[in-house]
């Protein structure tokens, strides 16, 4: 693998308030074409790292590198053509139709004045087909369920035709049916389009099931990173989350069982 390929961060530091560092020198590489899980306890800086990677926040020190080039030197639309983001919660007018929302994903390609051309329309159609949202195209987004809506936001990100997709806890507010549907969709995008995907996840078992790599954050630094099957072990989870656990292998796939404090596996 070319060292300069893909997304990487070196010595990244960030503070929302002076003197209170959320990230304290994070260095990590996100393997191109792979799905990486970003995990860690609440408040460890996962979302902050994701926002820095997307260029939404600017680092106090350190660098975000995209193919070896510092993100801060790139123009915003150029970044948005390479990196798309789906956020945990979103806001939009309720009467906006699904299709118009997905069209907004073309903004980095066309600016705000050029009308949609055939290329834009093809990208929007493809994004809606990939996320199975075509049947909602003309519905207002207020008429959709949470799971359907999150797929529409994913479609908007896909319409950007970026090769890197960042997902910030996109399954958090969904029930288990929609969680798995969403993760399945994401895994498929990675397989079919070779997209590099980085997602913040809370569920270790979902990370095992859908991710290739893992980056574990603790107190604003990278505690461990690498191939998920190798890296995620009981001692690591204990250190990262302060929980007792056991990793078992069922039908060739790893699972994690957590132990209640002073209790049985549950």
């Amino acid at each position: 693998m070319d060292d300069r390929n893909g997304l990487a961060v070196t010595d990244l530091c960030y503070a929302y308030e002076r003197g209170k560092l959320v990230l304290r020198g994070v260095s990590a590489r996100f393997a191109p074409g792979r799905i990486t899980a970003l995990i860690g306890a609440n408040g460890c800086g996962k979302s902050t790292l994701l926002n820095l990677l997307a260029g939404i926040l600017k680092p106090d020190s350190g660098q975000v590198l995209l193919d070896g080039r510092e993100l801060g030197t790139m123009k915003r639309p150029a970044i948005a053509r390479r990196i798309a983001v789906v956020h945990q919660s979103n806001a939009a007018p309720g009467d906006l139709t699904v299709e118009k929302l997905v069209c907004a994903g073309r903004t980095p390609h066309r600016g705000l004045l050029r009308p949609l051309d055939e290329g834009d329309e093809a990208a929007v159609r493809q994004a809606m087909a990939d996320t199975d949202t075509v049947q909602f195209a003309h519905r207002p987004i207020s008429a959709l369920s949470g799971g359907q809506l999150q797929r529409v936001w994913l479609a908007m990100a896909l319409a950007q035709q970026a090769d890197i997709l960042l997902l910030d806890e996109v399954t958090t507010y969904l029930d288990i049916h929609y969680q798995l549907e969403m993760l399945h969709l994401i895994a498929e995008l990675n397989r079919k389009k070779r997209m590099t995907i980085l997602m913040v996840l809370h569920d270790i078992n979902q990370a095992f099931a859908y991710c290739d790599e893992v980056v574990i954050l603790k107190d604003g630094v990278v505690m461990a990173q690498g191939e998920i099957g190798r890296v995620v072990q009981a001692p690591v989870l204990s250190q990262a989350f302060g929980v007792a656990s056991e990793i078992i292998t069922v039908a060739g796939r790893k699972h994690c069982l957590f132990r209640r404090q002073g209790g049985d596996y549950g």
Binding site: R76, A80, D95
Partner: protein, 331 residues
């Protein structure tokens, strides 16, 4: 989708028809009256004394009301898009009163610079806007905090120009008409100033519509779409203040016009600014013309200023909006 389009077309058609009807009603409200055929003949075919008087006295104020109403509605829509807040009426939160104060001061104290009134008025509007924005900003702009701060700033500027008016014994009639937002003595000069504003406003709003649509998303989403959020916000704010201060320089400070009209427009044509902006302009022209005509008609031969009519209608409307705020932007 298609039903939506039909609904929008219907709203545009009916409003345009109502505006035409209101125009003829306004022409006929007052001491002189005329018929539509007489009016058209007097305007385009042969001289007619009645029509000539109406043309000189009544037309300017009618056109000022229409153009002003449209401009103020556009200003309101833009301000609400920037602040993501359905209550952000430039006429209510100190932008137009700041602009009107500056306009009144220049008119009265520096008549040599009267040509530059719009410039001073814009500066006054910006001061009002900046005050509200800075004072109400607390990580985000909460609707209620914004409106409270805005009312304080508005009261301050209103107090200033009323005090000024009292100091001078209301001798500066030009300034006094702006202070009272009285449009009964408007001339064709005022019409031409407002016309310039209106044409510029429509053109700029057409360019800004897509940006306004994006501003409805959350900040993170806007940034991840590669949009320069701060510049976009600044540009739309400047546009809104420019329109409000143009209105203030000619007409004065009118509350609620920039609040009621965008709200009704959103209910009728939805939140897509490419439809919302032109429709709000049309509806604003209708509402302000009706307010002015109503004020002329109900107590004839006395007049109730359109600003007062708007305040009477707007008060209850603000209460309704306060109760509903938060749902308007689909959150």
């Amino acid at each position: 989708m298609r039903r939506n389009g039909a609904r929008t077309a219907l709203a545009f058609t009916l409003t345009a028809a109502a505006l035409l009807a209101a125009f003829f009603a306004a022409v006929n409200t007052g001491g002189l009256s005329t018929t539509v055929p007489q009016l058209l003949r007097g305007l385009f075919v042969a001289y007619d004394e009645t029509v000539a008087i109406i043309l000189q006295l009544r037309f300017p104020r009618i056109l000022v009301a229409m153009l002003g109403g449209g401009i103020m509605a556009l200003s309101g829509v833009c301000m609400q898009a920037v602040m993501r807040n359905p209550l952000a009426d430039p006429g209510l939160i100190g932008v137009t009163s700041g602009a009107a104060f500056a306009a009144a001061m220049v008119t009265a104290l520096l008549p040599a610079l009267a040509r530059f009134t719009p410039l001073f008025s814009f500066a006054g509007g910006m001061v009002g806007f900046a005050l509200v924005y800075l004072l109400a900003w607390n990580k985000q702009l909460s609707p209620v905090r914004l409106i409270l701060t805005g009312i304080a700033v508005d009261a301050f500027f209103t107090g200033l120009y009323q005090a000024f008016d009292a100091f001078t014994g209301s001798t500066y009639t030009g300034a006094a008409s702006v202070i009272n937002a009285n449009i009964s003595l408007k001339t064709w000069d005022d019409v031409s100033v407002l016309l310039v504003y209106a044409v510029a406003a429509l053109a700029l709003c057409w360019l800004a519509a897509q940006r306004c649509n994006l501003l409805a998303f959350s900040d993170k989403t806007i940034l991840s779409l590669g949009v320069n959020l701060h510049r976009t916000r600044l540009l739309i704010s400047l546009l809104s203040v420019l329109m409000a201060s143009g209105f203030a320089a000619v007409i004065g400070s009118v509350s609620f016009l920039g609040l009621i009209v965008p709200h009704m427009a959103r209910l009728l044509v939805g939140s897509d600014h490419r439809k919302l902006l032109p429709y709000a302009a049309l509806l604003g022209a209708l509402v302000f013309l009706l307010a002015d005509t109503l004020g002329r008609a109900i107590a004839y031969p006395y007049e109730i200023s359109a600003a007062i009519i708007m305040a009477i209608l707007g008060g209850p409307m603000l209460v309704i909006l306060l109760k509903r705020s938060g749902t308007v932007y689909g959150r």
